[in-house]
């Protein structure tokens, strides 16, 4: 018989727990002072009474006073003053613990749970109970008695403790309970990130490893590690592949008739070469039936709208009418898993079919652990493919101008194959005082691609790729021989 579960009501946490907590289970939440345990405890209470007909009891031992606690959580959106005292109730059990010991504390818990028909209990300050216990055996006995109360009353219990996290998950009491959750603050240089780890959860699988969370006006916002959450992409219809035009005729020609959708393409090139302009072309091809998303780490919606208008691109109209959504995410601060979650959320909600993400480097700048970016992007890519989204990512390359060396020299694309089925390279070539632009298709799965470099120009209508490689040949030949070709050769 499957055990009934209780959801925390915190989306990311329920995703990590693959459904929630076991009804009638006992969980230890461990973390140093300031980790966010009390906020989590209160959020569990208010979410519980908001989602169920249940009653939540918050029991403090050596914790801040109820008045101060309520003043702190009073500003958070989950707090419902109408729920206290009829649905959420606060008591202090420290003096009972002092006067009557652990036995008195268990008796108090049992009576309160029974008399008030409590379905969720938070015991804040377990370390005080541990200190009261004369021996480890006595403390284990207390945990066992709490488990018995929880099981008999079908009341889910959370024991919050600031005891040292170094003994996770081997301490005796942790081996007894149904789950152990650790909350902590980690420093990365001058930056910090809050993390939540589920060390143990009886009754089913969960997403292991470290996950990020924020404390916001909505309480805890938990972001499961994207690559763990999306380890298996959402099952899709697996529609047959179709062609998606990039909106740049010469490039579509080089690709053998456009991109194969839904698939990811990466455009690599130095600053100013035209990557963002390619995005304007691409999203200009959206329609009400094929909505798009422009996700930028660098430029605001106004800047892109202005550029689209100057180029005469339909994107300007699509941005106004909402056919194309725009998200600007500065790289100054943020969590990559939060950004990934918001990106996927808007894709799912709006049924996005074309996504232009400018660019991969923004995720690298946000990441406190850069080695995570590749697996994260692989997971996002798989999910977007499953959702039927054709994606163009940009990746900024160094300004390694071709001048007397091979055109691809200095390009770093190791690992790009995992996230892009098509790779386009845009490069400058410096011939005397003039910068020429080249484009080449390095890879395009299942397509007959042009294996040549083409020269392209940025015009008042956007990118124009030359119909053949003659112009590129001319520039490269001149570079090799030292002669200056005439434009259009």
């Amino acid at each position: 018989m499957a055990l009934e579960t209780v959801r925390s009501g915190i989306g990311g946490l329920d995703a990590i727990l693959q459904g929630g907590f076991l009804n009638g289970g006992v969980y230890i939440v461990q973390g140093e002072p300031g980790a966010g345990k009390t906020i989590l405890g209160n959020q569990l209470c208010y979410n519980h009474v908001a989602q169920t007909e249940g009653f939540a009891l918050y029991v403090t031992l050596l914790a801040e006073s109820h008045a101060r606690m309520m003043a702190h959580i009073g500003a958070m959106s989950f707090f419902d003053p109408e729920a206290v005292p009829d649905r959420v109730y606060y008591v202090s059990a420290f003096r009972v613990l002092e006067e009557e010991g652990l036995k008195g504390l268990v008796t108090l818990l049992r009576r309160e749970v029974q008399n008030r028909n409590v379905s969720l209990v938070v015991l804040d300050g377990l370390v005080a109970a541990e200190e009261t216990a004369g021996t480890p055996r006595e403390f284990k006995k207390f945990i066992h008695e709490v488990q018995t109360v929880a099981a008999v009353s079908a009341s889910t219990m959370f024991l919050l403790t600031s005891a040292s996290a170094s003994n996770i998950p081997v301490a005796a009491e942790q081996t007894m309970v149904d789950g152990v959750i650790e909350m902590r603050l980690r420093l990365y240089g001058r930056r910090s990130e809050r993390e939540i780890i589920v060390h143990k959860r009886r009754g089913g699988p969960f997403l292991e490893g470290r996950h990020s969370f924020l404390i916001t006006g909505d309480g805890l916002c938990v972001f499961p590690r994207t690559e763990a959450l999306l380890a298996r992409p959402t099952p899709g219809d697996r529609a047959p592949a179709f062609r998606v035009m990039t909106g740049v005729a010469g490039l579509d020609d080089m690709l053998g008739g456009g991109l194969i959708g839904p698939s990811p393409m990466m455009v690599v090139g130095p600053p100013g070469i035209g990557k963002t302009t390619l995005g304007i072309h691409f999203l200009g091809g959206c329609s009400a039936k094929e909505p798009g998303l422009f996700f930028s780490f660098y430029e605001t919606k106004d800047a892109i709208s202005r550029q689209a208008r100057q180029l005469g691109s339909p994107l300007a109209k699509w941005l106004e009418t909402g056919v194309v959504d725009y998200v600007w995410q500065p790289t100054t601060d943020g969590l990559i898993d939060d950004v990934a979650a918001r990106l996927l959320d808007i894709v799912r909600r709006k049924g996005i079919k074309r996504l232009f993400l400018d660019g991969v480097d923004g995720f690298v700048e946000l990441a406190v652990e850069p080695e995570r970016v590749k697996p994260l992007f692989t997971a996002i890519t798989n999910e977007l493919r499953a959702l039927g989204v054709t994606v163009i990512y940009t990746h900024e390359d160094d300004v390694c101008v071709t001048g007397g060396v091979l055109p691809l020299t200095g390009t770093h694309l190791r690992g790009a194959s995992g996230i892009a089925e098509t790779i386009i390279l845009m490069r400058y070539a410096e011939l005397r005082s003039e910068l020429h632009r080249f484009v080449s298709v390095l890879k395009a799965r299942n397509s007959h691609i042009a294996r040549t470099l083409r020269r392209f120009e940025m015009t008042d209508r956007g990118i124009v790729v030359e119909p053949d490689n003659a112009g590129a040949e001319g520039v490269l030949e001149a570079l090799q021989s030292g002669f200056q070709p005439q434009r259009g050769d």
Binding site: S65, H66, P85, Y90, V91, S92, F94, V96
Partner: protein, 120 residues
């Protein structure tokens, strides 16, 4: 000066109120919940009971009603205190002096003065 019983489950609150009132010359008794307060009343008879609203075992409203309905106890003056709003706490209890938490020293003295005002 009066004998005051402070009923509060929270560590530190009852002790703090006790210290404030003893500085003013009152004699102060404490209890950690409603049932403990009733046990205390069998030994001592205070002139005023300052009752917290949310407590384990027997809550403040239950204690208030028990005292108010007991012919032997109903002459004792009562005041309520809580971190919840006055209207939530006093619903069904009548208009009695109320101390909102968190409080300042002067708030404690003011509510005790209000509760004892007019005593014989």
């Amino acid at each position: 000066m009066a004998v005051v019983l402070v009923v509060d489950d929270e560590f530190g609150i009852a002790e703090l109120i006790q210290a404030i009132l003893e500085d003013e010359g009152h004699r102060v008794l404490t209890a950690i919940h409603g049932r403990a307060a009733l046990a205390r009343l069998s030994q001592d008879e205070p002139e005023l009971i300052l009752i917290d609203f949310m407590m384990p075992v027997m809550d403040g409203a239950a204690l208030f009603r028990t005292i108010a309905n007991d012919p032997k106890l109903k002459h004792i003056r009562l005041a309520m205190m809580s971190s919840l709003p006055r209207e939530t706490v006093l619903k069904g209890l009548g208009d009695v002096p109320f101390l909102r938490k968190p409080f300042r020293y002067k708030d404690v003295l003011a509510v005790v003065e209000e509760a004892l005002d007019g005593r014989k």
